[in-house]
């Protein structure tokens, strides 16, 4: 079963990340790299991707005279997707375990960020017997 693990944050949270020390950022990235390596090793890794800054986000609603209607103003409280992991795992419990590891990735001073990770199943249709 495929699951997507979504890491989201507000614009304020992203601005805060920019103030992390270089060392803290490197430690954080090393932890994420190690999780990705483990998932590749277990054959559960499908994809991971980081998204560019919320400042570059646009929302598009329909079109007017063939021109897309774009807007770049978002409510302060809006949660932006920062990045995601797609994993192919045996069950939901395993997806939660991986999300928990990602959540425990170190932040400033090496303390776990405990970031909430949203876990969602792909809406693919699989035989009921499985």
């Amino acid at each position: 079963m495929k699951y997507i693990l979504l890491m989201s944050g507000t614009k304020a949270g992203v601005d805060q990340y920019h103030s992390w020390s270089q060392k803290d950022i490197e430690t954080h990235m090393a932890a994420l790299r190690s999780i990705a390596n483990d998932l590749s090793g277990s054959g559960e890794f499908v994809a991971t991707q980081g998204l560019a800054e919320p400042a570059e986000a646009k929302v598009v609603r329909g079109e007017k005279n063939g021109i897309p209607v774009t807007d770049g103003i978002f409510p302060e409280a809006k949660e932006f997707l920062l990045g995601y992991w797609i994993v192919d795992v045996a069950n939901a419990g395993r997806a939660y375990e991986i999300a928990s590891r990602l959540s425990a990735a170190p932040g400033p001073g090496g303390a776990p960020t405990n970031m909430p990770i949203e876990v969602r199943r792909f809406a693919t249709y699989e035989p009921k017997s499985q």
């Binding site: 997507i4 897309p68 949660e79 792909f122």
Partner: protein, 130 residues
């Protein structure tokens, strides 16, 4: 340049299940047609639909490594319903594709004009994450 086009809905997005069968079919046929067009133009990287929000969990790392899961979300939370990743020549082309997806037919065949969030995807995960 890679962009992700995100279709977000409130929990009420499950109202789609109450649409008349005919309208639902027309909506899905539109989406299949859009994906086919993007595949033929070589712009489609991936497209996925996510299972309904009632199956979503929020996971945080527990102290002893046991995942803490929570399935309670604020009423106002936006859920990712599905996404497209496209590889296009310009942001304008990404907006044009988003506008098209936004105008997918809803009940009675009226364009939904739903908001589609458009974000640049980092050209690849940072090398230190691989």
């Amino acid at each position: 340049m890679k962009y992700i086009l995100m279709m977000n809905t409130m929990r009420a997005g499950q109202g789609v299940l109450q649409w008349p069968q005919k309208d639902l079919r027309a909506h899905i046929a539109f989406m299949i047609g859009l994906n086919k067009e993007l595949r033929e133009s070589g712009e489609l990287v991936s497209a996925e639909g996510l299972a309904f929000p009632d199956q979503a969990k929020l996971v945080r790392a527990g102290k002893d490594g046991v995942p803490i899961t929570d399935g309670v979300f604020p009423e106002s939370k936006e859920f990712l319903a599905g996404y497209w990743i496209v590889d296009v020549d310009s942001p304008e082309r990404a907006y044009a594709v988003a506008a098209k997806a936004s105008a997918a037919p809803g009940p009675g065949g009226t364009p939904l004009n739903m908001p589609i969030e458009v974000r640049p995807v980092m050209s690849g995960p940072p090398p230190e994450m691989l």
